[in-house]
Symmetry: C2
Subunit: 296 residues, 2 copies
């Protein structure tokens, strides 16, 4: 079975061919611009290749409600030209195949639940800490949507006592996780990108304070069986142990399962098993799921 997958990000559109077992046969990367400019290039890539379905894992906000007239569209966004754009519909119309549609982070957790570090879990979350913070959520054997889709990067956090002056990096919330701990916040607070601050211990102490606090909240709300943590900020090798430690501190012994011990945490909060591919592999799975649904 030949399937198409797209991981649509703010800077690039990864387009791939693969199969229902997550095998990636080839991929291209197309720079993200206004939809009129980059979507035709993406369609040209897939046209005539014989894909049976396409999976589209996109930046948000997006309408995932299959009963909505705006299903498949991008919602309110500052990205030029994207607000109200019928992203899924463009591919459906031009390629004539079923198009599975979800968020980029839901695509990533779907990839990890199907083939990666959360394989076999009935609930798991994927947290990416990059320019922003996004959380993909898999519960009760499915991806969480709801009224829209989770925007768990915007939960509100308590400030560290030494970090009261920073204005925050989110235009909406002075104190949300994304505004305090995403890559953009690091750069705004310290004047340099995280990659240039590796040896500044205080940067990563503060960063893990916020991520540990956010993860404690995700544990209380989602009760996940596995937490997959990734994104540019997590490429700092010291971060995983710091975040695990801070998460346990914030939970304060409330949960007593084996996951909530220093040893258990190593397996509970983990990097993706699919490397940089959970999103694009998840997109293949979205394609396969949509095909199966339309065949029924």
């Amino acid at each position: 079975m030949l399937l198409g997958g797209i991981e649509a990000g703010g800077t690039k559109m990864v387009c791939a061919l693969g199969d229902e077992n997550g095998n990636l046969k080839e991929r291209v990367s197309i720079p993200t611009r206004e939809p009129e400019k980059c979507v035709p290039e993406m369609i040209d890539y897939f046209r005539g290749r014989g894909i049976q379905a396409l999976g589209l894992a996109t930046f948000g906000p997006a309408d995932l409600n299959k009963n909505s007239p705006l299903y498949g569209h991008i919602l309110k966004t500052p990205k030029p030209g994207w607000e109200g754009y019928d992203f899924a519909g463009a591919f459906r119309k031009e390629l004539g195949v079923p198009v599975g549609f979800d968020t980029d982070v839901n695509g990533a957790i779907l990839g990890e639940v199907t083939w990666g570090a959360a394989k076999g879990c009935s609930s798991a979350i994927y947290i990416t800490v990059g320019t922003g913070i996004g959380v993909g959520v898999y519960v009760n054997g499915g991806l969480l949507h709801g009224l829209m889709h989770p925007e768990a990067g915007h939960i509100l956090l308590a400030r560290h006592p030494d970090d009261t002056a920073f204005a925050g990096g989110c235009p909406f919330h002075r104190n949300c996780a994304e505004g305090l701990a995403a890559g953009r916040a690091i750069e705004l607070r310290w004047g340099q990108k995280g990659a240039a601050l590796s040896d500044r211990k205080e940067v990563w102490e503060l960063e893990s304070y916020y991520l540990g606090q956010a993860i404690a909240d995700y544990i209380c709300t989602y009760s996940p069986e596995k937490i997959i943590l990734w994104g540019g900020v997590m490429h700092q090798p010291q971060m995983f142990d710091l975040v695990r430690e801070k998460t346990l501190e914030f939970l304060s012994g409330y949960f007593t399962q084996k996951q909530f011990t220093p040893e258990g945490m190593k397996d509970y909060i983990t990097a993706p098993a699919l490397g940089d591919n959970p999103g694009i592999m998840g997109a293949l799975k979205l394609a396969a799921m949509q095909l199966a649904q339309e065949e029924n």
Copy 2:
């Protein structure tokens, strides 16, 4: 069809007879004591009444994982005699009928989704602000469990700048929602129960500050289609409007759906439609669901 339902709380066990349509035929209330004392009384109430199944919606923490050897048991708790008790198993053994088992708040949201204010929703949450704070979660057409079950009353909040001295009412977390805003916290902070503080404007301003903050976080994490808010603290008539207002303030315009306007909020954050019965009616639904499952 005759079904039994139990809403198991810290002070009383409500036991009822009813049917699969949520009709309550009769009920009794049995004081909660150690299981050896009160469970036999509960069993005696149901014995010989001809119920086809029982639904048990209980205080937590409880093991809801059907694949676990501790399924149906109460987990670590300070309640004398309850830790490790096989609550569901006691009824199954003595009554010989299917026993549906979930948390009290999951029972309540199930009742409201089936017959109440969240009828027809595919995702909704039930927040009770009583002695503690509990959150029942219905998503993707089912009750949310996960590794254990949500303990969303324990998410961490930012302190109000005028409330920095209060020690908090949670023995685990200095700054969790339950520790800052449950009935116990109100009594500890102000020296009187909430019911005696109705005319103290500052009490309810602070209370709605914390509840609004918590609800903003639940909206970001669960993306619920409906939020049902109840419990003793919400019996203060001024509280609903205050909480709606504060929730919008904390969301800061991030979400643009019609629910997130002052007018939309009135319908979005609402009291239960089933009065004081969502939990016990949800227990009847748990019974019906378990019966259907075991018949398949």
